[in-house]
Symmetry: C2
Subunit: 192 residues, 2 copies
């Protein structure tokens, strides 16, 4: 049975080891469950508790969660809509042309932003946030349901968004492992 202990991360592990544990726990949780709301909710919890177990700057993470592609938005104005997360109340929708999340959704590439105040069009949903990483979650195309990236082989379904209350909160290690997690989440869930 799923148990809250899955969120308990030992202190003293490296960031790589901690992310590895996140991936292993997520794989276990997703092995018998493909509901995306359920899986993103538990994944946000795993990420949040992983960061809190790590030393500075990772333990300064102040938001960890997901936005999904809003299926109800018109094709002319694509937007993301808030999904499960841990942290303070967050923006409900984000247009594809706005901020760090929008850049990830448009470019289909990870955005590693050491200083959000220097990012053009950054959305200051939480004034405490100083750095951010946003990783697109892509799935194999072939469906004609996609609200975005229809012409591409890989289709955007969601993004992972993690905010940190200090500058330079994230590095290439975060990028590498969050991209692994995005791959796992993309292939492990039914996206309606």
């Amino acid at each position: 049975m799923v148990h809250a202990d899955a969120s308990n991360f030992a202190s003293g592990l490296t960031k790589e080891e901690t992310y590895q544990q996140v991936l292993l726990q997520a794989e276990g949780l997703f092995s018998d469950q493909r509901n995306w709301v359920c899986n993103l909710a538990n994944a946000a919890s795993l990420l949040w508790h992983a960061y809190k177990s790590l030393p500075f700057p990772s333990n300064q993470v102040n938001w960890a969660g997901f936005y999904t592609v809003d299926r109800s938005a018109p094709a002319s104005r694509p937007q993301l809509i808030l999904g499960p997360f841990q942290g303070k109340v967050a923006c409900q929708t984000i247009a594809f042309n706005r901020g760090v999340c929008g850049a990830a959704a448009t470019q289909l590439r990870t955005q590693l932003v050491p200083n959000v105040d220097a990012f053009p069009g950054h959305i200051a949903c939480d004034g405490d946030t100083r750095s951010e990483i946003v990783v697109p979650i892509l799935v194999d195309g072939g469906s004609d349901e996609g609200a975005a990236g229809e012409e591409k082989e890989r289709k955007l379904v969601a993004i992972i968004d993690v905010d940190c209350a200090v500058q330079n909160g994230f590095d290439e290690v975060d990028k590498l492992w969050l991209e692994k997690l995005a791959d796992l989440i993309g292939s492990s869930c039914d996206w309606d």
Copy 2:
């Protein structure tokens, strides 16, 4: 614009005043948004930060969030499925005949449990939990889509679940205000 400050609750308020602020913030958030995933995610955040601002025992809350009725479950085996929450990793599905959440889903009544260890069939998803309150979220019937309570006028769509790491974590004040919140959430979201 939605701002993280909505999660900031002053200390020194009474529990009633704090819940009142949760309700007001939730009303504001839901006024231009009916997506249930988005709204439950922000509501879980409001509840979590509200409890953390309160004195003992409310500040010992260790999980606050939602389960929804699992539309994919067969009518013969109705179950709840995990929705947005704040806290540690949680059980993915809960059968209607199991535990405190199942009792609320079956009886369509709030379950106020001062000591979960004395509750028959309690699901020990987190061994730290000692007391729990579960409030059903009901909407007006009239649809034939309901997986449960089809013969009743009010149809179950979800539950609010809050766990506390000490016994007697909740009282009639929590029940009153969480039922108000359940009413607001029920009428403010589109439930697919």
